[in-house]
Amino acid sequence: MNNPQLNKHGELQHLLTIEGLPVRILRDILDHAATFLDATEKHEIRKLPLLQGKSIFNVFFEDSTRTRTTFEIAAKRLSADVVNLNIGSSSTSKGETLLDTVDNLCAMHADMFVVRHSSSGAAHLIARHVAPNIHVINAGDGRHAHPTQALLDMYTIRHYKKEFHNLRVAIVGDILHSRVARSQIHALTTLGVPEVRVIAPKTLLPSMVENLGVRVFHDMAEGLKDVDVVLMLRLQNERMQGGSLPSEQEYFKDYGLTEAKLAYAKSDAIVMHPGPMNRGIEIESSVADGPQSVILSQVTFGIAVRMAVMSMLAGNK
């Protein structure tokens, strides 16, 4: 099966999922991101001309403020023209199909699409459909993938832990419905993290999740023992209605990250969260704002990582 993300020279054509990406590309993205971070943070260069004249369309079929904003900032720092489209759920009521929308935007000379959609595989569908000179970045599709989130998480881990090959990483929460978790798992295993753990009740785990290369835990004390990195996931409110969980309170009691539970991890373990956080549901405020939390760094790094992805897709080495 051809990897739809790479062109025939093995370069990144689209960023749709972490799965199947060679480790050299992941490292390339992280290295590029480091350069951009250096430029924007240390040297206070606010704008780079790398995407001058390019049009980037942020097409969000599912609401998101944060991810869209960070993509917008990243694109603008690269001097691209950015168009934001919040299509939400209204497009279907107007009768326009996903690919109709995409065709229309192509006709407006888009160079790159940043797409978020509630259905798994939407970004792949668009990538298959567009002309070869157009690039697609998946900003989250259903439960499937959220590659830039995973990349910024990897950047953050590398920033604080330097290496991947000696780490123990735990992902905590709703793995089943999480595109972030899937992308994190692929990124961690690709980058050579020897032990990736998932911690969740059985109702929030996909069957055969262990085949993705993770160890499964249902208990926080066991699962967090001696880990270097704790990746928390956001718990969606719908999980209560679907019969997956009895209540937020019970979830917090068993799986919420408290100072007491964090104490099972290594003393220098870092705590991460893709945001937006549900304080008091998946994470205690004292942990979210505590010394081990690197959650705000993630946001800063996220812009650099997205700049790196966009610039690589546009052909800047």
Partner: protein
């Protein structure tokens, strides 16, 4: 019209015949096999040298989309596809719009089909009104109108009391009940087999237990009601084993599998190929192997195409939103041949699954090449290779997971009731 089919290799599973013999047709029926009847002067001779001559295929699950879904397909388009695939009889599920729950609708469908004179259509009536699972249909009236079995198609029948009553009522008159087992709660919103592929792709799943729980219910009710039960489209290794045991026990149960599931697994979803969005979902490798084993030992009686033409727009969507289904009438025969070759199944046995066996499931004395039988005949060239190109398919539905596959075996002539309805 008198037809002489000469020099072909006849394969007729029912009569256990595999030999080079000529067929003589007169008055729409097979007049003689082997020896020319006295004074027989053919109006038409068909030279079947190099061809295999078999009974016209019977496909027990082919959606024609009429009434109600003519934008997906019409009787004209799908019956043309059927005979191009050597299919001369088909059973169509009742999930049309409106569903086949009234005699008038069934009569109209039969009438439309008859006037097109391409392929025999055996409607499967709705088991419950509107397929809603609440009230049973007028099965006697529907039978009089032409229904050969009763089914819920892919609609759920969650109310077990209604299911029992429907079976009791059907059993009273020896009507056949066809069910596709799926627990609607466990399958809710699911689009893929609950395995590693769905875990990776983040697709909502339909676990195997959705099939086995519903199958267990159906089998227990069949045991209780003594109904003639046919289980449609089994997909899992566990279901094959349950049917095997039920048959061993002596239950009047039969089952079929779709040819898609004989050849494909969830791995074929690749990067969200919506052509592989099928009902039931494509399952794992061990399920596929169990289906093949079930075919070999006779647990699975018949193979169908589960032909479900879908319009392109409905497929050009993200996987879960794309409509399920694939076109299949024109691919059934080559895919059965492919399976037979892969599993070293003799053609006599393999072809039985798409001729005499399905005919028996419908209670029809058809699907064979006996003297006196209706001359429904398919002749195919077993050596011709061809590539599946959607645009070249006659079906209005162009979506198939076998897009680009190499097939071997191509239909050359199809006769329906002694008349040539297809040739190429």
């Amino acid at each position: 019209m008198k037809i002489h089919i000469k020099n072909g290799r006849l394969i007729d599973p029912k009569n256990n015949l595999d030999a080079q013999q000529d067929i003589y047709i007169a008055e729409r029926r097979i007049l003689s096999i082997g020896k020319a009847p006295a004074d027989f002067v053919a109006d038409q001779e068909i030279d079947a040298t190099g061809l295999i001559v078999i009974p016209g295929l019977m496909d027990i699950a082919a959606r024609l989309r009429e009434p109600g879904y003519e934008y997906k397909a019409t009787l004209e388009s799908e019956m043309t596809a059927a005979v191009a695939g050597g299919v001369t009889s088909l059973a169509c599920p009742p999930d049309t719009d409106p569903p086949l729950d009234e005699p008038g609708l069934v009569e109209m469908l039969k009438h439309r089909a008859r006037s097109l004179n391409q392929c025999r259509v055996f409607p499967v009536g709705a088991l419950t009104k509107g397929l809603a699972g609440a009230e049973i249909t007028e099965m006697n009236e529907l039978t009089e109108a032409g229904c050969k079995a009763f089914s819920q198609a892919d609609e759920a029948l969650t109310n077990t009391r209604v299911m029992m009553r429907a079976m009791q009522y059907a059993a009273t008159f020896d009507y056949r009940v066809w069910l596709r087992p799926q627990d609607s709660y466990l399958a809710k919103n699911g689009v893929a087999h609950d395995g590693e592929v769905a875990a990776r792709l983040g697709l909502p799943t339909i676990p195997v237990i959705a099939e086995t729980i519903a199958l267990d219910t159906a089998l227990q009710l069949a045991r209780e009601t003594d109904v003639i039960l046919h289980i449609c489209r089994i997909s899992s290794a566990e279901a094959v084993e349950m049917i095997r045991e039920a048959k061993h026990e002596g239950l009047k149960v039969t089952c079929d599998a779709s040819i898609n599931h004989v050849h494909l697994t969830d791995m074929d979803l690749g990067f969200f190929d919506a052509n592989c969005h099928l009902v039931p979902p494509l399952r794992g490798q061990r399920d596929k192997e169990a289906l093949r084993a079930g075919l070999l030992d006779g647990t699975i009686d018949a193979i169908c195409s589960n032909h479900s033409p879908v319009d392109d727009d409905a497929k050009q969507l993200p996987f879960a939103e794309a409509e399920s289904g694939a076109t299949g009438l024109e691919l059934l025969l080559p895919l059965v041949l492919k399976w037979a070759e892969q599993e070293k199944v003799p053609l006599l046995d393999a072809l039985a699954r798409v001729t005499i066996k399905p005919a028996q499931l419908l209670g029809q004395k058809m699907g064979h090449l006996s003297v006196g039988a209706h001359a429904d005949i398919c002749m195919f060239d077993p050596t011709t290779s061809w590539t599946v190109e959607p645009a070249a398919l006659k079906s209005q539905g162009k979506n198939t997971p076998f897009n680009g596959y190499e097939m071997q075996g191509r239909v050359r002539y199809t006769l329906l009731d002694g008349q040539l309805v297809f040739q190429q």
